[in-house]
Symmetry: C2
Subunit: 377 residues, 2 copies
């Protein structure tokens, strides 16, 4: 190891995953967060769905996602062992469905695109889909089954990560970090709401709040608001699906992620309105309307929670994983919609950085790609 | 006074109003509630709108409501003085509006009905309504203005009532009451989760939970669930209306009650599913859809809260105000949708009962009307 101590800024899924792995590898780890496990990681739906979320032109992201979902079962197993509690992984797979003709054409294009990349997906008609998932309504006319796209209960995951971090001997301090301090060459510490703390290596995992923490990150990460609903099946209501259901409804994406306890997470809007975590009437209305068209039985479900989180958006939708700016500054942020999906790969990559053995699978996420454009130092 | 001590079961708007007035009149008052000010009174919208809620065949209720709204300004003024804080009354009035042709016909019928009762209401077209309330959308084609139908911020009211109760020297104990005890002739006490307490006079104001408290009340009060949303205007959003807006949207009633802080309360569904306070997807969807058709600008508002409460429904939609069963048992419950509206009149009536001077205005609410049907003793 280059360093013996690591200061992690941010206790979301990325910060906690990296802190757990680094502490388990023997580093002296301190995690700083004013409200651990309360940000975007807690609001999230928990899809591990790189294939059904693939988008032409984002092959780099698809590659990272496929590699990370491949590592997810092992990560979840080791985490459950380390934490002494379940990690929340669900392996029922994903269906992506379409309603109108335009939506079906878009899914056909996705299937063709994935086939061109050598990724097999199974095309299904409406009846075949309803045989798999009887909760799908009559407006669903076709879709794809992607058994390899998984899901995780993000709150179960966060609880497991916190337990694993604690058992590995890392400290979590509830304090806000204002900035990372350096002497021009090297990191010297962090400025917190409770005063300055010395540090030799700082890993910034502060999600949408990362850009403000060091000049090298300015302009590289921005908040992308997402609203999400949590439902619960009521007695007598139609049972929820067992697979994650992603849908296109008149061109609008909506998803429903089932939970082991009969819950269903419906998401997600996407708007850029700064550091704004208010849930809007229009957002809730859109989510309910589109989700009901796909899963009409949810009308009888309880609406348990409506919340908004801030995804850390980067300029190219790829995360920033690597060294940046002064010696001792590492970043693992900018995961946008994919923080939970990419947590295992990110933790592996950070451990590689700490060991001086960079993870080749994350080369596309090197933050140095932005330095040429005048960012970073 | 017939009694010197009064035990009030239930610390909603009715229980607190009666407790305040009784304590101020010199009685030794104890209020028992496991969670004061947290039930239907807290969920409510706070309309004081007997005229715009009038319904042919419910002239008794209209009479009670008109009498109580007449007493509201005086009640609010005395409460604010007694509590040392505002009571939350708003006097901007109410408009009731219609969208489609069927809705307009129904409002015309309401206007005719009210005119037949000698109650003047002002008929307005869509443009006139939008001049009064620019937040009304283009689907609003006509309506009525009823300046005498008022509103109150029910949470501000509850805070004032709690302060007034405390200043008047009444005690509020956070304990659940299981039943009212009697010896066959007279009330002897109450059975609580913390043991039996002696009592000579018990006033049951337990809302939807009242029926279980004494055999004389069995079958007379049932829970009628209502779901409600609390919104807040966001920066840049169209300002909320200043008056209460009641609307018929394709035959479905919906209302929006403005608050002094820019908030807007949207209500309310009405279903009978027992003691069920879960908010449903279908309920929220209906409220948002109908409210947006009338006030389209709310799409940009924050959805701050969704909640359900249990109205105490009676068989004839009139409350039960009076003596019932054994000596010393008084009831003030069954207010259904009108608990907040009827609080001043109810408190006056209860004070009259305690003084042995029955309030003639509430004769129609005498619970003895059900005794002939085999209820009560």
């Amino acid at each position: 190891m280059t360093y013996t101590r690591l200061t992690v800024v941010g206790a979301g899924v990325i910060g906690l995953s990296c802190a757990w792995r680094a502490a388990a590898a023997g580093l002296d780890v301190t995690v700083l967060d004013p409200a651990p496990a309360s940000g975007a990681s807690r609001v999230a739906g928990g899809m591990l769905a790189p294939v059904t979320e693939a988008w032409p032109g984002e092959e780099g992201l698809l590659g990272l996602g496929v590699e990370s979902v491949r590592r997810w079962p092992g990560f979840a197993g080791r985490l459950a062992d380390a934490a002494g509690r379940p990690a929340g992984l669900r392996t029922e797979g994903t269906v992506v469905v379409a309603t109108g003709g335009g939506d079906r054409a878009e899914l056909d294009a996705l299937a063709g695109y994935l086939a061109g990349l050598g990724r097999e997906v199974q095309r299904l008609g409406g009846r075949e889909l309803r045989r798999l998932e009887p909760a799908l309504g009559p407006e669903v006319r076709g879709g794809l089954s992607v058994p390899g796209d998984l899901a995780v209960d993000n709150r179960v995951l966060l609880a497991a990560l916190r337990a694993a971090v604690e058992r590995a001997g890392a400290a979590v301090r509830e304090v806000e970090v204002h900035e990372v301090l350096d002497d021009g060459d090297r990191v010297t510490g962090v400025r917190t709401a409770a005063g300055d703390l010395p540090a030799e290596c700082v890993l910034v995992c502060a999600g949408a709040h990362s850009a403000a923490l060091h000049p090298a990150l300015h302009g590289l990460v921005r908040p992308v608001k997402g609203e999400i609903l949590r439902l619960a099946a009521r007695v007598g209501a139609f049972p929820p699906p067992s697979r994650t259901v992603r849908a296109l409804v008149d061109g609008r994406p909506v998803y429903a992620v089932p939970r082991d306890d009969g819950g269903l997470v419906i998401g997600a809007t996407q708007t850029e309105t700064g550091f704004d975590t208010e849930v809007t009437v229009g957002g809730v209305r859109d989510l309910l309307r589109d989700a009901e068209r796909v899963l009409p039985g949810i009308a009888e479900y309880a609406l348990v929670e409506a919340a908004a989180g801030l995804r850390p958006g980067s300029r190219d939708n790829l995360p920033l994983l690597g060294a940046l700016g002064p010696e001792g500054l590492l970043v693992a942020t900018g995961h946008h919609r994919n923080g939970i999906l990419l947590a295992p790969l990110t933790a592996d990559a950070v451990l590689g950085l700490l060991r001086g053995e960079p993870e080749p699978a994350v080369a596309a996420a090197d933050p140095a790609r932005f330095a040429a454009a005048g960012h970073g130092r």
